[in-house]
Subunit: 254 residues, 2 copies
DNA sequence: CGTCATATTGATACACGTCAAGGCGAGTGG
DNA sequence: CCACTCGCCTTGACGTGTATCAATATGACG
């Protein structure tokens, strides 16, 4: 059981899975514990091999057995309607926890697919749960991750039902920037691992609309793009467009 | 501390709070435990007085101290954009858990307001967490509730970005029906405790659109309305419109 | 260097929002 | 018991943001 390798795409099964040797990741760590508890945690974690672009980590309807933490690369999760339409529910970067929507149900409510070559840590949920009884910190962090997911989705609901196309794209770029910054990467220049199509799908927009807004933002000097590379030229203006509170240096007065 | 009454609307403070004497609720219980553990749980729960319509249970930005379970009545949760626009993120009926989005953050990410006279149980989160270390079942149920919230929101994202106005309303009615049925109430005739305006807000539609669709559904013999009372006349057709899989009696063959 | 997915750009259509005007029902007070 | 008021709901006319359709352009990859 402990030696069960991670299976992907219902075809792939690799055997040579290294154990997680360190506490997960180097950036924003979802599960950061002291040395002793970290050791217990890494005992139950399994590191995946490099999953190449387009690989499914799990499919909607698959039995829910584990949650995952992205180690490197990017994942998207999505649901499909009965008409076969796909709705992307989230993008996941290194250090972020995937599959929390499956907690409390027998099966995964979404599919998870890599957007580029990606590696993850797998945490069998049963073991994670019993371990969380002994390690209060782990329990707290696990619930924090779930709370974070809930808040992110609430923000998406707001975006999808109240914001204009322009505000959606601005918000998207701003939040990406923020997440990269938190991980110690550049907040102003980064690579979009997802296609325009996927951005549109996620934001509830047609591809064409996303494309038009990207060009408009470029003309207005807000951003500069070169394929999937993007540079945020005027961050504060972008932030304003996104409809976020303006974070000036001093705003404590009132 | 244990005697602290629930405060509401930043004006209301009642003293005569009864302790939760039984395991919560009678319908779908989010926290159902055996007698002994149930006793421990009710030790930390506090029952609110009857909160009249329009009362805030907590406001966005309030310190996150506790989660709540609806005992009777209805609540809505909502966020506000910087432009002051309100987005309803959920409706909560008896037995359902409110405020889970606050877990892992210092403050409530949404406001919670009663839609009618409502009573709730309050569970101080700190105590709930430490209790969940001793009672594995409670820990599981707490996380299940969070997982459920995540899934509900993912479904809302799909609705908001992919479904037509008609599909949204049909989905809304269908899901309400389902929730009432689960609680042992009629699945075909019930009272909408929220206004048309609130329905529209929740579904990302203008009030007028909701109203028009309600009348259209009536003309087509799908529903019958009489103010806030609603009867689902043709459930299966409504279900089809909602874009849900058709649940015929026998669908096990293939 | 061809092939195919992805991206851009333009022209057109439509679902739904917005604006405006009653209508209906529930309280409230005379 | 009626008249008044005030929210909420309904219905109609109209405008618009964004989807859709269509035609290249661009880039990735073998």
């Amino acid at each position: 059981m402990a030696e069960k390798p991670i299976q992907v795409d219902s075809t792939r099964t690799l055997n040579d899975i290294p154990r997680a040797s360190t506490v997960i990741g180097s950036g924003a760590q979802p599960f950061a514990l002291d040395a002793e508890d970290g050791e217990k945690l890494s005992q139950i974690a399994e590191a995946s091999p490099a999953l190449k672009k387009g690989t499914h980590l799990f499919l909607q309807g698959d039995p829910f057995m584990a949650i995952y933490v992205v180690r490197a690369g990017t994942l998207k999760t999505y649901t499909v309607t009965n008409e076969g339409e796909e709705q992307i529910t989230g993008f996941y970067f290194p250090g972020e926890v995937v599959a929390l929507g499956g907690v409390g149900t027998g099966e995964h409510p979404v599919s998870a697919k890599t957007l580029e070559t990606t590696t993850v840590f797998e945490y069998p949920f049963q073991q994670l749960d019993s371990l969380s009884a002994k390690i209060p910190q782990l329990r707290v962090q696990l619930m924090n991750s779930m709370g974070k997911e809930i808040r992110a989705e609430q923000q998406m609901m707001l975006l999808l039902s109240k914001k204009t196309a322009e505000q959606r794209v601005a918000t998207f770029l701003y939040k990406l920037s923020d997440r990269f910054k938190q991980r110690g990467y550049s907040a102003t220049i980064f690579r979009l691992s997802m296609s325009r199509n996927e951005i549109g799908n996620y934001l509830g927009l047609a591809v064409e609309t996303v494309s038009r807004i990207f060009t408009r933002f470029q003309k207005n000097g807000l951003i500069a793009t070169e394929g999937k590379e993007i540079t945020l030229v005027n961050q504060s203006e972008l932030n304003t467009l996104a409809g976020n509170p303006v974070l000036t240096a001093d705003c404590g007065a009132l």
